[in-house]
């Protein structure tokens, strides 16, 4: 899945933005470890096969606590998106507009993930556009970003 052109060390945002960290209780550690090794993981219930994201301690469908992790292809489609003009974080003061996408992942039960849509912030975007994951590596954590795939 993760060819080298799906990896970037160039940050979408200037320095100073908050970065993610695993929860101290370990619930989402596998997700962030997966991202670190450029593998997109979501929870899958072992007994009933239900996918869920974000992580939970039990399956919301059958309430089993026997939950594993499934690998996603990293291909998805835009479920919703927004172009942000007014920054609320001091690190973004001179950033200008940026794009946030909510991506639906069909091969893992249509769970959704948020990321930036890389490229020109003024690009034409439509709900339903196909996207693929891009790994944005930071010193000790990796962000899950998205890039539009060319229309076939």
């Amino acid at each position: 899945m993760a060819s080298e052109n799906n990896v970037t060390t160039e940050s979408y945002f200037p320095d100073g933005m908050p970065l993610p960290a695993p929860m101290p209780d370990g619930l989402d550690a596998p997700f962030w470890e997966g991202a670190r090794s450029h593998t997109l993981l979501v929870q899958r219930c072992n007994p009933c096969g239900t996918f869920q994201f974000g992580p939970e301690w039990i399956c919301h469908k059958c309430r089993s606590n026997d939950i594993g992790w499934a690998r996603c292809s990293g291909r998805g489609k835009i479920y919703a998106f927004e172009r942000v003009w007014h920054p609320v974080h001091k690190a973004l003061r001179d950033k200008g507009p940026y794009l946030v996408a909510l991506v639906e992942l069909p091969d893992v039960g249509n769970v959704r993930m948020v990321g930036n849509l890389l490229g020109d912030p003024q690009q034409d975007v439509a709900i339903g556009d196909a996207v693929e994951v891009v790994w944005e590596d930071h010193q000790d954590v990796t962000l899950v970003q998205w890039r539009r795939l060319p229309v076939k």
Binding site: G54, L92, V114
Partner: protein
Amino acid sequence: MDYSIKDKVAIVGIGETRYYKAGQAPISEFQLALEAIQKAVADAGLHIEDIDGFASYSDDRNDPTRLAGALGIPQIQFSNMHWGGGGGGMAGAVGNAAAAVVAGYAKHVVAFRALAQGQFGRFGQGHAGARVRGAAAYTAPYGLMSPAQMFAMRTQRFMHEHKISQEALCGISLASYKHAQQNLRAVMYGRPLTREAYYNARWIVEPFRLFDCCQENDGAAAVILTRADRARDLRHTPVYLMAAAQGTGYRQWVPAHNDPDYATSNFKTLAPRLYEMAGISPTDIDVAQVYENFTGGVLMSLVEHGLCDADEAEAFCTNGNLEWPNGKLPLNTSGGNLAEAYMHGLELVLEGVRQLRGDSTCQVKDARVCLVAAGPMVSPVSNLLLRN
């Protein structure tokens, strides 16, 4: 439904401070709370000593124990905070106060909200910390952190699903601003909004422009509830609660925007319960007060309360239906959060009471039933049906 609060409780007093632009109140938030409560008690024709219960929401900082101490209230018999951030608990606090009255826990309960954000942290600001954990870890690093940013995403999806343009949001904003021009309490009194100015205003986050977003204000508001049989002896026409509901739908607000039903104001499970308790239908509503955090939430709330069809929502919001005096369903007749003041929506309950007393500055002729909806798109949300 014989086991409910229906018609058993009335709002008998309303009070508010002057409403200020954010950071401009000359007195503390606590003083603002005291002033609004005292005014509501006076409006009811009650004495401060009659108050024996408090209800609020959204982590109000003004603790009933401190308020009661300062006011010299003989005893507290009920004190309650509705869970959830944002304004989702505005109607819920009133509903909880009503429940306390029906249960006999307390006789005269005040539901209140005081806000002076300049004296504390402001809403709408990003995370300051270098690391974020839990649900915020999936959103904040991508610049999705403020309420506007959280709700624009849902609104975008809703507008896509129902082919609704910005015109609908503009119509909602114009109605609130128009109504505020009649209302001397309104912070936006004397500052009318035109369609052109709406479109010339800067984007905050698409599809929201500046005038799609609520104000931030300093002030306080309060209402007093008591049993219907006591209410009739007090100063004003009692405004009865026909119904109150609070809650949330299936897996709403699970992390990273994974709510199974995403493009919703979150009233789909509440609205049917509300109408069932009241024994009325949407066509019985004469006037509506719908919390505007952002216009997109109002749009969805109107649809989910059965006041217009999703696929006809744009026409409904742009044909003057929302505007007093000629519209079919005058909306936010005081100016609401957008243009009267952002008292976290509690000012909408006060306006509902005014409409049913016949005291509004945009008085709907022969108004009998008012809907109040709180907190669209958050979880939990809440709503009320009021009658005279």
